[in-house]
Symmetry: C2
Subunit: 480 residues, 2 copies
Amino acid sequence: MKETFNIDKEKHFSEWYSEIVAKAELADLRYNIKGFVVFMPWSAQIIEILYSLFEKELQSKGHLPSFFPALISEENFKKEAQHVKGFSPDVFWVTKVGETEIEKLALRPTSETAFYQMYNLWIRSYKDLPFKLYQRANIWRYETRATRPFIRSREFYWIETHNAFATKEEAEAQVQEDIKTTDKIMHQKLGIPFLPLKRPEWDKFAGAVYTIGSDSLLPDGRLIQQPSTHFLGQGFSKVFDVKFKDKDGQEKLVWITCYGPAMSRIVASIISMHGDNSGLVLPFIVSPIQIIIVPIYDAKSKKVVLEYAEKIKKDLEPLRVKIDDTEKKPGEKFYFWEMKGVPLRIEIGNMEIKNKQLTLFLRDERKKIKISEKNLSSEIQEQGRKLDERLKEKADKWFEKSIVDAESLEDIEEAIKNKKIARCNFCSTESAGERCSAIIEKELAADVRGSRGDKQEQPKGKCLVCGKKANVVVYVGKSY
Amino acid sequence: MKETFNIDKEKHFSEWYSEIVAKAELADLRYNIKGFVVFMPWSAQIIEILYSLFEKELQSKGHLPSFFPALISEENFKKEAQHVKGFSPDVFWVTKVGETEIEKLALRPTSETAFYQMYNLWIRSYKDLPFKLYQRANIWRYETRATRPFIRSREFYWIETHNAFATKEEAEAQVQEDIKTTDKIMHQKLGIPFLPLKRPEWDKFAGAVYTIGSDSLLPDGRLIQQPSTHFLGQGFSKVFDVKFKDKDGQEKLVWITCYGPAMSRIVASIISMHGDNSGLVLPFIVSPIQIIIVPIYDAKSKKVVLEYAEKIKKDLEPLRVKIDDTEKKPGEKFYFWEMKGVPLRIEIGNMEIKNKQLTLFLRDERKKIKISEKNLSSEIQEQGRKLDERLKEKADKWFEKSIVDAESLEDIEEAIKNKKIARCNFCSTESAGERCSAIIEKELAADVRGSRGDKQEQPKGKCLVCGKKANVVVYVGKSY
């Protein structure tokens, strides 16, 4: 690295994003199929860690892993009318094997229609319920909007859970539990605040009764949807005939929910939320290298310093720690690992060895502190925890200030101009409100993203578009 | 479970295999696309553990994770002549999006032609080498032979490594390292012995200079290929123009190897190798539940016994432990978890609590022993380790006896009849030997699987088919 990374993230976010994706070697966009990218080791390792966070959490909540085929028959795919209508234009179809035409098969854009035909076979009695599976999988959708690495592409890496219940109440409780799972991992652990928003009727998942998306904000004022959870009601269980014999001896349809956290999308928020003008800032919990050790030596001290660095590395394992013993100058190493977002750096030279005191660099504050060699591992874990806490607090403060009340279209316009989210009183998120939403979209290029999905907010007065009685508080913002 | 599992595995292996896959809920074959199955939680969890064993091992050997698209352009796919010839008939092609025809895209049957176009962009100098990436991925091949869950299907779950080197020697050393990786995990840890066999010229990976497969034996005397490693030479680097500037300033083509352990296939060997007439026997290291606790109580003792069971469970964590507190009778629980292959069972009743001595059932020997409550976790880990060691020893002994020397076609016939592998002197595994191989295949329905890939075996005398001078020792067996 001769050059150092230095782009004003706030002023030139889009450029900053593209540059850091390339410089930190997160993804390569030069793969020769449009909308498909290669995830390089630095982001692949982050994605693997995200998978393990989510899988552990889901397992603790009673979901079990499974693997379903990536191909879905056309017959299955067409069973649920709204679903097929919503997804059809985006589906990649397999129509040939070798030179031979076959009955066309959908490359899964999502797996409801793969899972529920099996639920039909597996679920028999109330004793089988709740029935909660998940799979780690990639899915494919032909996005027509501009693709952007991690934010939107035609292939993405997610987990999908599919859950069947005996009652509506249990199913809706699962939806609320999903919001808590998103909060626990994405917000509490990774420091990415979000609004759980119940989507308007015209923007819900194709085939759902309702959808609760998790909207995070990017620094350019655009909202991206993070893990969303869907209450599917009994629509799919009806068409796939997923019934169980209840305690009362009656055959009943199950109630279904599904939930889809996309690892690659979360990486977009990690990059955007925490990064600064010097590059990435990765939370300690998710960084592929948590501590980079930079030994500083001359020809005379090289052996002693490197040996000492090895000892420190051993002390810190199983934390993810690496010694940079390349031929580069210390300053170059500093810049390189700062740009890559490694949260903690330990510098070791003669002075540190003599004083049994290490120099610790905190990536988020770009500040050096001295720490004792004693209890090193627990001290470093504590510093990592504190760093993640600071990232979260900073993000929370910013996010809180980014939500402003709007009482008119002008207020919304002002909010959008200032890269914020507008909260406003609105007539309806049922189909009656679609006209008002269309006006906002047309005049301000902004979207009604929905109302709080985790709690009730009391509307006051009138809809700021049509002036009719407000029935709902909605959040309006620019979508990615 | 009213019924108990009881099929003579040795006599009726095929029936045994199908039944245990269904009864233990490993896979469901009723998915409505031929050749595609659903992996249910019990096998999905095993597959996840296998992935983590392989990923950890590969990372320790300097391979880094990455994710490449599942779709490959026709142009890329066709670049290497042998490769396209070998794979073309099996490729699933995506030709449509929604209702629109697109330029056809291959659903990857393997990813050489995805990786190496990027290696062309990424590798510049000898300093970039060795360059070792892997990805966890599924792949699709239209198998025309009969499919069988885990053994052969049209979608499978694997890891593929792709490695570039400056010299032929380093590349070939990687191939040998891959054999050691297979040995370390599949043989040492999972107790599945195998022969690393260099495939004959006519049976190598399409596009490779040579292939070393790992042949394991199923109880019915059929060989299945486990992880194989390929020395690709410079064929792919030539067509994808993957060059580096060497120390001497010259531009040179890299040498490439790849390696492909398939998790789903390894599950087939675990099922087949260790299972017995009562069902699965899972190695401790890979079982989703390592210890099942069965509490034995009456109405009076229920509370005390369950509390004690909870305490034991806590003591054993983070081992994978579960209490079966369902309403079934103890005997039913025993049969159920034996059939599922859980390696260790702890029985807890009044007597055990009083004596502070637990009853431990060893699944492989179907034997009960008493163990003290003291140092429980380390004792159980030791018992688990020993169980895995016993499984391996038993398998090794059987495998060793399954390899017999053959000096004539009649000897091979006899070996095959006895479900064994024949070792014989053979003219050549280069193209000159293909005729003799074809005779064996035609007359005995057996295949020349290759010669040792990890060491040199000295041939003696003449080829047992054509009578010409023997140049190689080969292994002949029935293929799956």
